[in-house]
């Protein structure tokens, strides 16, 4: 199987998510992604017989898919059983990095906020591409690399100041430039990626930390420091956050970035570039200009 380094502890991610759901999950990121998904689906002029909602930790993708009227059968998956209930759809529990559907068995795979904590993302995309039928759609939204940059900087500054060293506390999320290439390498045609960047303001950094816990999104990195953060470090980090990243009214800013990626499994009906040299008309004729031969300069430059 995969030799990718284990960046994330999948079991711990499930434990954190379970706690968040039990306490009443905070879902503003999922709700934003779900609303965006509805818009994106309205631009897709196709019907999909079998659709997999891959790993979305709430009903947001399933609801948007159902409302689109473009889905025959919907199968939901989530990292744990609690994130599925109550689900009227056939459902499975699965690890977002291990796609358990047979070759060319599904028509679309849609995923919200699940793939950012997969250790081997290229491998996961490859598995998804193989399970899609020709002309099948893959559309996913991931938390991007510029998210929580203020928190990352504040924690690092406080930790080095007080404890004399830093440990990874905010996950290294993927960059959009990496993701476009990954889609292509995984064999997807017509790859597209774009970013939804926005700022959320909180009364204090503690409000942000509270939300992250309620999203089940606290540190699950394998290389994280296992002992709890010292109180002095946490307090200093909150001070630095408030000093560096607050607005004139005293509220603090937290950056979030949602990266959207999509691709289609290749099919002969899709648009593709012609082979070089296969043109049947001159470009100069199409443009209504005189064709120049090599080395000749345009009139105005003479």
């Amino acid at each position: 199987m995969s030799d990718a380094p284990r960046l994330f502890e999948q079991g711990l991610i499930r434990t954190r998510l379970k706690r968040a759901i039990r306490q009443g999950a905070e879902d503003f990121l999922l709700a934003r992604a779900g609303a965006d998904l509805s818009d994106r689906l309205s631009a897709v002029l196709r019907h999909f017989d079998v659709v997999v909602d891959w790993g979305t930790p709430g009903p947001h993708a399933a609801d948007a898919l159902l409302a689109s009227g473009k889905v025959g059968r919907l199968i939901r998956s989530a990292p744990l059983i609690e994130a599925l209930a109550p689900s009227p759809y056939p459902s499975i529990v699965a690890d977002a990095g291990l796609f358990p559907f047979g070759r060319e068995s599904v028509d679309a795979v849609i995923s919200l906020l699940a793939l950012q904590t997969v250790d081997d993302l290229p491998g996961a995309l490859m598995q998804i591409r193989r399970a899609l039928k020709p002309d099948g759609l893959f559309l996913a939204c991931l938390i991007g690399g510029s998210s929580l940059t203020e928190l990352r900087q504040s924690l690092a500054a406080a930790e080095s100041e007080i404890e004399g060293g830093i440990s990874p506390r905010v996950a290294p999320f993927a960059d959009i430039s990496d993701l476009g290439g990954l889609l292509q390498r995984a064999g997807f045609a017509l790859p597209v990626s774009d970013v939804d960047s926005f700022t959320v303001r909180y009364a204090s950094p503690l409000g942000l930390m509270h939300d992250l816990r309620r999203m089940g999104a606290t540190n699950a990195l394998t290389e994280r420091r296992k002992s709890p953060m010292r109180r002095a470090t946490l307090i200093r980090a909150m001070e630095i956050y408030a000093e560096r990243f607050s607005d004139p009214d005293g509220r603090i800013r937290a950056s979030f970035e949602l990266i959207w990626i999509s691709g289609w499994t290749p099919h002969e009906s899709q648009q593709k570039p012609l082979k070089p040299g296969s043109a049947s008309q001159r470009l100069a004729d199409a443009l209504g200009v005189r064709e120049m031969v090599g080395g000749e300069k345009p009139d105005r430059l003479k």
Partner: protein
């Protein structure tokens, strides 16, 4: 998440037969055998039996039961 195989089989919800046709082993991508009595999806290739709880297949290798040769 504790549930014995016997109690799982007696629950109301059953696995969707159309879902069964689509699923493969998450590790080996090979076919799965449905064991209705034990409520498991058995991957001979991976030597793992994935539990089905309340009609929901748990496709996590960490939660699967290792099987021996006699069950393959």
């Amino acid at each position: 998440m504790h549930s014995s195989n016997e109690s799982a089989a007696s629950t109301e919800r059953h696995i969707d037969p159309k879902l069964l046709e689509l699923l493969v082993c998450p590790l080996t991508k090979s076919v799965l055998r449905y064991d209705a009595e034990r409520q498991e999806l058995v991957s001979s290739a991976a030597r793992l039996a994935y539990p089905i709880r309340d009609g929901i297949p748990i496709m996590l290798p960490d939660e699967a039961r290792m099987i021996d040769d006699s069950e393959r």
